[in-house]
């Protein structure tokens, strides 16, 4: 029996659990005091509701997003009607309900924005962790791959891919994620190199911890803050990216209502029907602004020293 055991049998320790406020709890409390971030969250929730309730709006108005209603949506001169009781935000040049289309477009924007961000984040974190942790030739190869990705002309690649396999939502998500993950990987790589040399990783390494354990248990929790911040800023970038691709006809299927495609349709008609341009543009602006402000807020909340 060792001395330690003897000492502790003689003197049993009574313990009550005291929970310290974790860094996440503190960050959430700081975020809640940030007015811009709270307002952004409200806007994001509203856009999310618009997306989720899109079929409900279609039901209430009786307008399908893809169906044209030439008898009610177009004036005798063939111009789209403006906002009113029937068409809440007016109709588009083909006689479709703009509001219902924008609501369905919110689905595409959020779906593409979030999926591309998740994909880019997962991929970027894995690549960045491996490159930063192992260094050497692994880092050399991966860093060069990132350089190549970052120097690709993304529109050209999108055009080629759309020509080859046809426009679709999964393809759009893939293209956006592919061109976004490199930024994430670079940030994660840099951070990982920093943490690899810290004494707390040396401490577990001297115990014989496996590289996987060090990466997942010791390094990854320290990356959650920068990754969360970057991911929250990747969402609006991806949304704009999707709108850009769709605007150019390289994104989702042209018939699918997407904010970028709706904006593209408006270019010939904004003089007679300015709502066609203004409503989707404002919606896109508000959404990306809200995500950006929320991202800034998250960054400030996670790192109060800045």
């Amino acid at each position: 029996m060792s001395l330690t055991d003897a000492a502790f049998e003689a003197e049993p320790v009574h313990v009550e659990v005291v929970h310290g406020k974790g860094p996440w709890r503190l960050a959430w409390e700081r975020l809640r005091r940030d007015k811009a971030a709270v307002a952004s969250m409200v806007v994001i929730v509203l856009v999310a509701l618009l997306a989720i309730l899109a079929p409900l709006f279609a039901l209430i108005t009786g307008h399908d997003p893809l169906t044209q209603y030439p008898s009610t949506a177009l004036t005798p001169e063939g111009l789209p009607v403006g906002p009113g009781a029937d068409f809440w935000l007016g109709a588009d040049s083909l006689g479709r309900d703009l509001f219902v289309r924008l609501a369905y477009g919110a689905r595409i924007s959020l779906l593409v924005g979030l999926s591309a961000t998740v994909l880019a984040t997962v991929f970027g974190v894995v690549v960045g962790l491996l490159a930063g942790f192992y260094g050497g030739w692994v880092d050399g190869v991966l860093a060069r791959v990132l350089d190549v990705v970052l120097s690709f002309p993304y529109l050209l690649v999108a055009i080629v891919l759309v020509a080859a396999v046809g426009a679709s939502v999964p393809l759009t998500i893939f293209v956006i994620a592919f061109f976004s993950f490199a930024a994430m990987a670079r940030v994660v790589r840099g951070q990982t190199i920093g943490f690899r040399e810290r004494e707390f990783t040396e401490a577990v390494r001297s115990l014989g911890a496996s590289p996987l354990r060090i990466m997942v248990i010791d390094v990854l929790p320290n990356l959650v803050a920068p990754v969360t911040v970057l991911a929250s800023l990747l969402i609006p970038t991806s949304i704009v990216f999707e709108a850009t691709l769709s605007f150019l006809g390289l994104g989702v299927d042209p018939r699918t209502p997407s904010w970028g495609a709706i904006l593209a349709d408006s270019t010939d008609f904004y003089r007679v029907a300015p709502g066609l341009l203004v409503f989707p543009a404002v919606l896109l602006l508000l959404t990306t602004l809200a995500f950006n402000l929320l991202g800034d807020g998250i960054r400030d909340a996670l790192d109060p020293r800045r």
């Binding site: 320790v13 974790g22 401490a203 001297s206 115990l207 320290n222």
Partner: protein
Amino acid sequence: MSLLEVSDVRKYFPIKSGVFFRREVGRVHAVDGVSLSVEAGETLGVVGESGCGKSTLARCMTGLYEVTSGKITFDGDMRRDVQMVFQDPYGSLNPRRRIGSIIADPLVIHREGTAASRRERVKELMALVGLNPEHYNRFPAEFSGGQRQRVGIARALALNPRLVVCDEPVSALDVSIQAQVVNLLKDLQTELGLTYVFIAHDLSVVRYVSDRVAVMYLGKIVEIAPGEELYERPRHPYTAALLSAASVADPDRPRDRVVLRGDVPSPISPPRACRFHPRCPKAQERCTVEEPLLLGDGHQWACHFPVEPGEHLRSAEPGLEGRAG
């Protein structure tokens, strides 16, 4: 057999340049031929200026660094029975993890016990190092520097190690806290029968804790002796200079200060033969051609012209001024 035997250990860090094909353009000779042994139950102090290779030596001893050449033999399982206490109480604890899980790391990595038994052990350890066991759910940021260093000590003790390598364990702490942590380490040694390698640049702390003291200069041990002997009768001129530069409790006590000229030479291309010769007040021709070996019994020094007891080293210009380069 000694608990730990270090024989002619060298650790060089390559300096690389180039983007694609990284060529080695030089080497930092951090530890360059160190031999020493650590006996069970003793405290071996290692002193030296920053950059002399003390921390590298510590990391070689714990197996964190693979040595470039030479051999380290430990009587036991190195990963388990040799543990380390780190210098920086802020950098050595993962800020995103609770201290209970940090202290349990050695147990988890070595697959010791169940989650419940590990938790009990963590609480025992926290009490042992003078922390409130109720605080195991807190984050490192909620502790002071001294308390964090106690967490680091608790982690090092989790597996009941035989050798604890302390790399400047108190140099980052306030002076008032240093004594507490040093005394804790001493008490734990008595209670648990630990062996320490205690690395520091503070001579008085090393004197207080160590049975034997080794002095390092530019990757080599220049003198090693029982503590009192080294402090009272230094034989290597570098040791004498180091001791004379240390602050003493009584400022009125008369003393000779040996002021060393120049800076520590670069460990990338250390001086030939005796590495101290460009700065040594006693250096002669021989010191530039023949490397002095660490010789002696009990009190060992590596010098051709050791300081004689009672001799006063003058803070004069180096003995080989003008010929050093």
